[in-house]
C-alpha cells in the first residue's frame, strides 16, 4: 500500500512527512509529491496545509490539474483522504482569511475567524487542548475521549451539516476539531505534533 502526502508548497510539511514515515516504518510506502499521476494511483492521500486559507488554495491552483485530481480521488473514487489543519479547512465552500476565497466544496460550510470575545481569548489558539469525541470516527479507534492534541490556528471550520463533526474542542466556544464524511477525514489539530496519541491517529488512518 502507499500513502501520498501532497506537496503543493503549502508551507512546512516536514513534520507531517516525519510522522507518517515513523508510523509507516517499512510496511507502507510514503510518497511526497505533486505529481498528478502518482497522487491518482495512490491508495490514500494526505492533504496538509499551513499558512492562510487563501495561500493554500492559491498554492493548490498553482499546480495545473491538482484540484481536479483531488476531486477525482476524494469524490469520485472515494479513496481515504486526510486533511490536516488548513488541509481540513479547504474542504469548505468558502474561507474568509485575508479575503473571501472559494474552497474545495467537499463539505458544505465556511471557515471564519474564531471569536476571541474581545480579546478574552488569545489568537492563534496555540497549544494542547482536549478533544471531545462526538462521533465514533474511524481515525479515533482506541483513542480516549478528552485526549490532548496540539493546535495552532486562528480560523475554524463551521460545517452546515453537524453530522460530519467527529470531535470538538473548547476554546471560546465549541470549535470543530475533526470531521468525517464517508472517505473524507480532517483534523484541525496536528496529529503529527501530538506526541504518541497523534501518531496513533496517523496509524489509524494508514490502517483504514
Amino acid at each position: 500500500m502507499n500513502v501520498t502526502i501532497v506537496d503543493y508548497n503549502s508551507g512546512n510539511i516536514s513534520s507531517v512527512i516525519n510522522s507518517f514515515k515513523e508510523v509507516a516504518k517499512d510496511k507502507v510506502t510514503i510518497e511526497v509529491t505533486s505529481d498528478l499521476n502518482k497522487i491518482e494511483s495512490s491508495d490514500k492521500v494526505v492533504l496538509p496545509g499551513q499558512g492562510s486559507f487563501k495561500s493554500c488554495i492559491d498554492a493548490l491552483n498553482n499546480i495545473d490539474g491538482l484540484t481536479d485530481t483531488l476531486n477525482e480521488i476524494a469524490i469520485i473514487n472515494k479513496k481515504p483522504l486526510l486533511g490536516i489543519c488548513v488541509g481540513l479547512q479547504m474542504f469548505a465552500d468558502i474561507g474568509y482569511e485575508e479575503t473571501e476565497t472559494k474552497g474545495l466544496g467537499w463539505i458544505s460550510g465556511k471557515v471564519s475567524k474564531i471569536d476571541n470575545q474581545n480579546g478574552k481569548f488569545k489568537l492563534p489558539h496555540i497549544g494542547w487542548n482536549q478533544i471531545n469525541i462526538v462521533k465514533d470516527g474511524k481515525i479515533f479507534k482506541d483513542i480516549n475521549n478528552n485526549s490532548h492534541m496540539y493546535f495552532v490556528h486562528s480560523y475554524e471550520f463551521i460545517p452546515e451539516d453537524k453530522n460530519v463533526i467527529s470531535s470538538t474542542t473548547d476554546y471560546s466556544s465549541n470549535i470543530v476539531c475533526s470531521v468525517e464524511k464517508e472517505n473524507i477525514f480532517g483534523t484541525q489539530f496536528h496529529p503529527e505534533k501530538s506526541d504518541k496519541i497523534g501518531l496513533k491517529i496517523i496509524n489509524n488512518f494508514i490502517n483504514l
Partner: protein, 251 residues
C-alpha cells in the same frame, strides 16, 4: 480547555548541548537529539533549541541537529539563535523545525517578520524579545543581550504582533541566569498589551516560579532551562506541581 505549556530549552553550541540533563544512563550527555527525546518522553509540551554557536563556519551544525531531532520527537520544536533572514527560516523549517524564533533580525529589519509570516504563516514565527529594565520601562536588547536598541519593549511587542508574529518569547535580561524568578511585571504588562500568546523566559529557579509566570505573569507558556538540567526537576514533576496549584496542564 487550553493547557498552559511547559517548554524546556536547550542551549546548543557547535551542535552540542552546553548545559544539559546529567542522567547517569545517558550515553552522550552532549547530544541534543537524545536530550530532546528525554524531554518529549517526559511530557514536555514543546522543545526549544537556542543555537549559541558563535562562529559562522559552525552555524550549519544546527540544521543537522534539527533534522535528527524532528525524526524522533513528535511534539513542536522551536529553534532560535542567529536567525537572520527569510532564507534561514526556510532552511530551519525544511529541516523539521515547527517554529523559528527571531530576535536581533526582527529589531534590525521588521520586514523579516512581515515577509516570513506571510510566506510561512504566523503560526511558525516567534519573535524573541530580550528586555532589560531602565527606570520605569523596559528596553529591547539585541545580539544576545549585548546591544541596547533603546526601543520600548511594550511598544515593540505590539508592533511585532501587527507585523505577523504568532507568539512572543519574552526574556528578562535582568533575571536571566539569576534563578530568582521571572520578571512578573514585564510578563503581565506585555501579555495584557497583546492578543497573541506570550512565553515567559529568564530567571526560573524553582517550580513556584513557573506557577507565578502563569498566574501572575499571565503567560500562556513557561520556558525554562537550568531547572530541568542536571535532573533538579523533571518536566513531569513540574507539571504535577502546576496541576496541584490549579493550573491546567497536559498530563
Amino acid at each position: 480547555m487550553l493547557k498552559n505549556r511547559i517548554i524546556p530549552c536547550l542551549d546548543v553550541k557547535n551542535g552540542r548541548v552546553v548545559k544539559g540533563i546529567n542522567f547517569v544512563d545517558l550515553k552522550d550527555a552532549g547530544d541534543p537529539v537524545e536530550q530532546a527525546k528525554i524531554y518529549s518522553d517526559g511530557g514536555a509540551d514543546e522543545i526549544c533549541f537556542l543555537d549559541i554557536t558563535a562562529s559562522n563556519e559552525n552555524r550549519d551544525t544546527i540544521y543537522d541537529v534539527v533534522e535528527k531531532t524532528s525524526k524522533k520527537c513528535f511534539v513542536p520544536l522551536t529553534v532560535g539563535g542567529g536567525v537572520r533572514s527569510v532564507e534561514d527560516i526556510n532552511k530551519l523549517l525544511n529541516c523539521g523545525a515547527d517554529k523559528v524564533s527571531i530576535n536581533t533580525a526582527a529589531v534590525e529589519n521588521s520586514k523579516v517578520v512581515m515577509d516570513s509570516s506571510k510566506k510561512f504563516g504566523s503560526q511558525c514565527i516567534v519573535v524573541a524579545i530580550d528586555a532589560k529594565k531602565n527606570g520605569d520601562k523596559w528596553e529591547v536588547f539585541t545580539h544576545g543581550g549585548r546591544n541596547n536598541s533603546g526601543i520600548d519593549a511594550l511598544e515593540y511587542a505590539k508592533q511585532m504582533e501587527k507585523n505577523g508574529a504568532g507568539e512572543l518569547l519574552v526574556t528578562s535580561m535582568d533575571r536571566d541566569g539569576t534563578q530568582v524568578g521571572y520578571d512578573i511585571d514585564l510578563m503581565s504588562k506585555i501579555s495584557s498589551k497583546v492578543n497573541i500568546p506570550v512565553i515567559a523566559s529568564g530567571g526560573v529557579g524553582n517550580l513556584d516560579h513557573l506557577v507565578d509566570g502563569i498566574k501572575l505573569g499571565k503567560a500562556s507558556a513557561v520556558l525554562a532551562a537550568s531547572i530541568f538540567h542536571y535532573g533538579k526537576h523533571s518536566v513531569k514533576e513540574a507539571k504535577e506541581y502546576l496541576e496541584s496549584k490549579g493550573i491546567p496542564v497536559r498530563i
